[in-house]
Amino acid sequence: MTRRIGILRALAGATVLLTALTACGESGSSSGSSGSSSSSGGDTIAADLVLGGPPEFENRTDGIPGLQKTYGVSFGDFRKLDAGGPLTINALKTGQIDAADIFTTDPSIATNGFVVLEDPKNLYAAQNVVPLINKDKATDGVKATLNAVSAKLTTDDLIDLNEKVINEKQDPAAVAKAWLADNGLDATGTQAAGTTLTVGSANFQENVVLANIYAQALQAQGATVNTQLNIGSRETYMPGLQDGSIDLIPEYTGVLLQFFDKNSSAVSSEEVYAALPSVLPANLIVLDQSQAEDKDAIVVTKETAQKYDLKSIADLAGKP
């Protein structure tokens, strides 16, 4: 009989381990496995819907608090995913969330037939593409070259450029070249001759293409251009612009203003652009802004939009 003790010990070991672990798991399954709780009641359309967005959206001024304050919209649940990345797009596509915070220039909006809800009260500040440049490098020729680019660039162009580099995996430099040619900006000249610049970009594809467009336009006009692409987030590249190791970068007006003035209340394109010069560091200026915008938007699927007859964010506060 005694040799049975050996087996019993071994089995007891495994069983104790399993039961101990399972027990502490089961007690928690009901309370918080999702880390989120659904709202109680509420009789608005939004209360029936689940919103998906980046984690900071829960507390961002123009996130959940902003939707509540500006439009009286309070979603039934909020799922923390990524900033307009593959998780959010997939979750919206497959119906795990009903609405999402996505960037307006995301090509997947058109691909999947998503509906961008209008923002009549300007919850989302204007985000026009604008060249941010070191004052010493902004000669008249450089300014003229970059302003010509901004004059042609539209939001539809951004969507198209993103479609090519993100969905079709084309080379950003080639896409930039084709855009310049299509817009008659590839003619060679000497406007910017004698200037040496380092063009930087943030680490997302749209910004990389824009930096390529700036760089190639300046090269065509005789400037000597070095590129430093995919640097990182604003916190990473802004010191480089301030110490002069980077001279030029494609920026977005609204976030640029927020970066240097957290309390700014400017929302329209004109207001934001007008507020910029006074907050920028002394060695940096912005040139003409383009009409192309890449900003946050609340996006729903076509089915959801039809079901509740949604056109603007304000409609979400209505009764279902």
């Binding site: 495994a14 672990l21 496995s33 999702s34 709780s37 909020f78 990524d82 119906g95």
Partner: protein, 256 residues
């Protein structure tokens, strides 16, 4: 705003949670839940497989292959799996986020459990195995009554290292919209609240230590003292690893 880890841990708001984000206690429970699911599945696969492979001494390459899984990039695999799995599971529940997360956790826990069970059984003193065979034990008896008890210290060490790895990696559940202690790390990073981020990391480390301590206690009371060497004062033989078996064999002989 005083943004440091002590302030964050002492703020009752963080223990209670907000409307869309559960508090610390709920997140710890959720974190343990993800960990348990992953470990149990990995154990159910890895433990019997390790026993059989270790006993037969065949397919050692499978263990090496499983060991290769340790080098998987967890977050990359998670996103890939999510994109693959999401069209297959509809509905708003957590399942669609949970399945990819658990697959990643199982893949990370499996190698340690499988390799240690395999090695534990392989490395049992040949003399003990021969003695068991000589006594007329069947292969099954040799495995369960001689090899398994002797392999327990290594098996436990595998389970414990798998547990540590899974507790640390379960933070990625928060990356795909689930909860767990990773919630604080990702939220803190996204919102530039570094006290929250550090707080989440400290809690993960504390939880890992606590769970490992618990497993160490379980190990102490389940592994035969003769195998671990805690018995050595009374053992007459220098090699205490065989003490349990010799003791058994001796007492068996006495009863017969």
């Amino acid at each position: 705003m005083n943004d440091n880890v002590f302030v964050w841990l002492n703020d009752p708001q963080n223990w209670a949670g907000t409307r869309f984000t559960a508090g610390i206690v709920d997140q710890i429970v959720a974190h343990l839940w993800y960990t348990v699911i992953g470990l149990v599945i990995a154990f159910v696969i890895g433990f019997p497989l390790g026993l059989v492979l270790g006993h037969s001494g065949r397919a050692g390459w499978l263990v090496s292959l499983a060991n290769g899984l340790r080098s998987l990039p967890a977050v990359g695999l998670l996103i890939l799996l999510y994109v693959v799995v999401s069209p297959l599971i509809t509905g708003r529940g957590d399942l669609v986020y949970l399945v990819p997360t658990e697959i990643v956790l199982v893949l990370l826990a499996l190698p340690a459990i499988l390799a240690n069970t395999y090695a534990g059984v392989r490395n049992v003193e040949p003399a003990a195995r021969d003695a068991a065979h000589g006594m007329g034990m069947t292969e099954r008896q040799v495995l369960l009554q001689v090899e398994l008890p002797n392999a327990l210290p290594l098996i436990f060490s595998g389970v414990r290292s798998a547990t540590l790895q899974v507790i640390a990696t379960a933070t990625i559940a928060a990356y795909v919209g689930l909860g767990g202690l990773g919630r604080f790390i990702y939220d803190g990073l996204a919102s530039h609240r570094f006290g929250e981020m550090a707080g989440g990391a400290v809690l993960v480390a504390a939880l890992a230590l606590l769970v490992d301590l618990t497993l160490a206690l379980v190990q102490r009371y389940t592994v035969s003292p003769g195998v671990t060497g805690r018995f050595s004062r009374r053992a007459t033989r220098a090699d205490s690893r065989t003490a349990a078996v010799t003791e058994q064999v001796a007492s068996e002989a006495a009863t017969d």
